[in-house]
Structures are given as C-alpha cells and as structure tokens.
C-alpha cells in the first residue's frame, strides 16, 4: 500500500478527488438551482418578452398570493415534519384564504368598512380556523392531514354560505392601490409578499421560536427533551399559518378585484407544489421559507414562460409537471448522493 494516504488518516484508502469530480459534485449539489436557471435562460431565449421588466413583475405579482399561503404551509410543515402520514400539513389554508376574500369583499363593498376593519374580521375568521386546526391536532389528537382536510371541507362550505356563492366586486381604494400601484419599481402586492417573506423568514430562521420550530419538526423527541414545548409549537404553527392565509386573502381580493367563488382548489395544488418543491432548492433538502418563495416563483415563471413561448394550452400543465419532476429528481439524486 502506498504511503500517500497516511496524511489523511480519516479517509479511506482510495479517497482522492479530482477537480472534475469536485465540479461534478458541485453541479449535483446545486442541480435544482442550476436547472431552474437553465429553464429561465431557455425561456428567455425562446421569448424575448420573458425577461422584460413588465413581464417579470407581473409574474411576481401572480406569485404573491401563492407564495404567502406557501409561507404559511411551510411553517406548518417545518414544525410538524414532512412525513406524509404523521407530519405537519395544513390543507385548509386555501379555504381560509378564500373565506378571507369573501369577508374582505363583503365588508368593503356591502358594509362600507375600511380595509383595516375588514382585514381584522378576515383575520379573525382565519384565526378561528387556525385555532380549530391547532386544537384538533394537539388536543384531540387527529393527524394533521385529516384534521385540516375536514376543516378544509367545512370552511369551503361556510364560505359558500357566507358568499351565497356570489361574486362580490371590490372598488375600495386601498385594494386598488395594492392591485395597481408600484412602489420603488415593484408592485405593491410584491412588496407585501416580500414583507411577509421577511417576517416569516426572520421568524423561522432567526428567532428562538424558529429554531424551536425547526427542532420540533426535525425530531420531536429530541426537541421535547431539549425542553421545548413542542405541543405549543405545533399548535402555534396552525395559528401563524392562518395569519398568512388572511394576508393571502387580501392579495387575492386585489388580484380578482373582489371575491369569486371556487378559487380554493387551484390554490391548494399550487400551494403544495410551491412549498414542497421548495425543499429541492435548499442544501439541507428540507421545506423552508426561502424555498417556498423560490418554488412559487419557479412555478409562476414556468407558467408564464410557457404561455409566452406559445406552448399549446393543453400542453402547459404537462410541461410544468415534467420540468418540476426534473428539478425534484435532481434534488432526490443529490440527496442520495450525500448518503
């Protein structure tokens, strides 16, 4: 045996790595992001409009409500773990957001309330849903997926009763401001999204609460033994997420200039997609707030780019699915690589 390996006692007998291998490893580790960039470059080449400022801003505007509910879902998943059966999930967020749009619209248009009052009421309603979820999961002991599925159905129903399944137009100046105006070159809706992002990202990644949250989701027993009040943490995630749903409600009212029935289902799928694909963008391969933002942006840019490159409408979902799977598969391979 040669003696050159003796300088690295911890490595195996063959552990030498060429520059090429290192580059390759880097490529695999950053695979999802590289793919993201590659897709964007392709779209930019295929349609000169794709990279125009107006288009990017409008894509971001489209992203805003999805991203905000996805932040909410991210909190729940981070705190509850990402196991399908026993982990944290909140399927009721889109329903809460839809309920918020109805309450906001009703207050603003039919009851002559101002935005602050309307928002408080919408927030209150969303908080009730969040609290019900929290109680169902932590006190009653339902699995998160069943509890929030049940509240999803219930809240969609309540929304229909409240709205009588009607559309309500909103012409409140504050909502129009959010819808139409720009601040320092960015649409107000995008500012709201960034603000929520900043708050949530700070909360999750920079505060003690956030660290406890991550610990709870990462290893419940460990968190408990570290003296973290895990039940409270899990309960709080549902409440926080419902706040995000209420904020998303404002953005949805702005986007639709009022409330339209039947917006929850699509939001549900988009939200899950944005949140879970977000894990692919993180080096730790876990659901996180920045990932949710990137995921939502990725999905929106993808939809927008495919429209601009004039892909047949029928094909758009298919391409979205394929590209998403490629990104996710790259993340899966990268994860396997580490093992």
């Amino acid at each position: 045996m040669s003696t050159d390996t003796t300088t690295r006692p911890s490595a195996g007998p063959f552990a030498t790595e060429s520059t090429g291998a290192r580059v390759l490893r880097f490529a695999i580790r950053r695979g999802p992001l590289i793919l993201f960039a590659a897709v964007c470059v392709y779209l930019a080449l295929a349609s000169p409009f794709f990279l125009t400022q107006a288009n990017i801003l409008s894509s971001l505007e489209q992203t805003a409500p999805i991203a905000v509910v996805a932040f909410g879902l991210a909190i729940v998943v981070i705190g509850g773990g990402d196991d399908v059966v026993s982990g944290g999930i909140d399927l009721s967020l889109p329903a809460s957001a839809a309920l918020a749009t109805v309450i906001l619209s009703d207050q603003l248009t039919n009851r002559g309330a101002g935005l602050p009052q309307a928002f408080l009421l919408a927030l209150l309603a969303a908080l009730v849903v969040g609290l019900v979820n929290a109680v169902l999961v932590t006190v009653v002991g339902l699995s998160a997926i069943l509890a929030t599925l049940a509240t999803y159905v219930a809240v969609v129903g309540v929304t229909r009763v409240v709205s009588e399944n009607r559309r309500i137009d909103v012409t409140d100046p504050a909502i129009l401001y959010i819808r139409d105006e720009e601040l320092l070159g960015l649409p107000v809706a995008v500012w709201i999204m960034l603000l929520v992002f900043a708050v949530v990202a700070f909360l999750v990644h920079r505060t003690r609460y956030g660290m406890n949250l991550q610990a709870t989701g990462g290893n419940l027993d460990a968190a408990r033994s570290a003296g973290i009040r895990t039940t409270r943490i899990v309960a709080s995630t549902f409440v926080l997420a419902s706040v995000a749903a209420a904020v998303a409600g404002v953005l949805l009212v702005a986007r639709g200039s009022g409330s339209s029935p039947g917006i929850d289902e699509r939001l549900l799928v988009d939200m899950m997609l944005a949140t879970f694909i977000g894990a692919a963008f993180s080096p730790r391969n876990v659901v996180n707030v920045l990932g949710a933002m990137l995921g939502a942006t990725f999905v929106a840019l993808l939809s927008n780019g495919l429209v601009l490159t004039r892909v047949n409408n029928s094909w758009i979902d298919g391409w979205k699915g394929v590209l998403i799977l490629i990104v996710v598969a790259a993340a899966a391979l990268q994860h396997r690589e580490r093992k």
Partner: protein, 340 residues
Amino acid sequence: MTTTDTRPGLVGALRSSGSWIARYAFLAAFAALFVFFSVQATSFLSGSNLLNALQGSMILLLIALALTLVISSGGIDLSAGTALDFGAWFAIAAMATYGLPWPLAVLCALAGGALVGSVNAFLIVTLGVTPFLATLGTFFIGRSLQQIGTGGGANINYRDAPEGFRALTSGSTLFIPNEVLLVGIVLVVFYLYLQRSKHGVRIEAMGLQDSAARTAGLRTRRYRAGIYIAAGVTCAVAGILLSSGLRIYTPMAGFSYLLDGIAAVFIGASMHPRARPNVLGTLAGVLFLSMLNNGLDLLGLDFNAKAALRGLVLLVALTLAFLIAKQARRTTAVRAAAIG
C-alpha cells in the same frame, strides 16, 4: 418466571380494549347520524335509497382502498384521480374510437391505470422522488395528457356501449348489484392481502421503518413499485365503473374523489389501535362519508348550507370520536409503557 403461554398479554388486552372504545366512539357517531337522517328524511331508510347510497359509494371505496395500500406503505398518491381518469378514458376510447370489444376495453383501462402507477413507481423507487411530489407531478402530466388527447378536454360519448359493459354497473348477480359484487371482491382481496397475509405486515413495516424492513430481508423496492402500480390499477377499476355507469368519459373527473378518499383512509386509521390505515376502517370511512352526502341530499337543504354542514358534521363527528378514543388510549398507553 416466563408465563408466556398462560398470560395472553396484559398489554395487548388493554390496548385492544382501548381500540374498541375508539372504534365504538366513531361507530356511535355513525349510528347517531344514521338515526338522525332516518328521522329527518323519510326516504332515507328506504331500501332503494340505501342501495343507491351504497352503489354510489363504490367508486370512492375503490379510490380509498388504493390509497389505503399506498398510505400503509408510508406514501401518498395524489394521482389516484388521474389513474381513475385514465381507466375511464382508455375504456371508452377503446370501444368508441377503436371499436374494440368491451372485455379488451376493460383490459386497456387496467393498463391505463397501471401506466400511471408505473410512472409513479419509476419516480419514487428508481429516482427517489418523494411520493408527494412524484404523484403531484404525475397528476399534472396526466391532466395535460387528457387535455391533449381530447382536443382540450372534450367528453367522449358512448351511449351505445355494449350491454356487457353497461351491465358492470346496471345489472345484478344473485340479487346483488354487479358493481357492489365487483367492488366487494376487490375489498375482500384487499382485506386478505393487507390485513390477513404476510404482505400486509411487510407493507406496514415498510411504512413504519423502511430501513428495518429492508434489513429484515424484505424486498421493499419491489413492494413499493408494486404498490403504486396496484393502486393505479385499482383506481382504473373505479374509472371503468364510472364510465360504465355514465357511458361517457369526462376528462379530469377523478380529482374530485381524491380528498374524500384521503379522508376515508385517515378516518379508518383513526379507528385503528396504532392509528394505521386499514381496510375495514377505510370501508367505515367511505360509508360514513357516503351516508353523510346522501342524508344531506335528502334533507332538502339549500346547497350552500349543505356544503357547510357536510364539513361541520365531519369535524364534530371526528372530534367527539377522537376525544373519547384518546381518553381510552391514554390509560392503556400509560399502563403499556409501565410494563415495558
């Protein structure tokens, strides 16, 4: 010292008594609702209505069974509806467009479901994508393929479907409606496979602790691939029933069964002592949801109110059942922990 044979297992006895309370709690909610509907809606108890409700729940039951299988193994299948669509699509298209005899069309449908399942299996087992995202991706692609294949989403009408194909849902054998008989057979197969054979135990082991199952010499990859394909095929059977009943293929109809299917599985799991998905629990969950729908239809409520009530009743029933069950479990769990 070792009282192995004489003591049937104190822990087990306590545990199962807890599970019985859990089960009874939910069944009590079930029964209470049944009585309520019987009193409030005169036609609820009629034989034809109950049969209607039963027949109406068969498609959901198949979807829920497929999901029971998948969730048992620790996964999820958001593309269950897509597999249903492919089953319905391939069956109708085979007959209406390609003029194949109906038994062949049924085979095509099953192949369609298997196709969807295989894509999932490839993504999950070969590439290692998480089931959540893999099946979500399959769902998107499947939706798109249906749009492409039907010129944007046109129905395929086949009113002249052969008698044999129609009989799958309209006829009856030995006074049992054919679809009930068919789904009953599937149910029994699932029950025997998941609850009574070695495979069910293995799949549960995989779902709980994959690495341990693998080390114990189980072919987990093979099982997992098989599970997604079998789930796809089961959903395709549901698609066959749907298309046989309507004699039409409506693209992208399957998604509407997904959430109810998931709910049924988890309601069923909640009745299990270790909160695992199980076939009989799923059956109870499906029947509960179907009864709820049927009863609310018969009450003659405003449709918006009906939508709200449906969710609220579900919430209340689950909460009550769980609070009682939890009480029971808590006492047994403490004892069990002490003995261990």
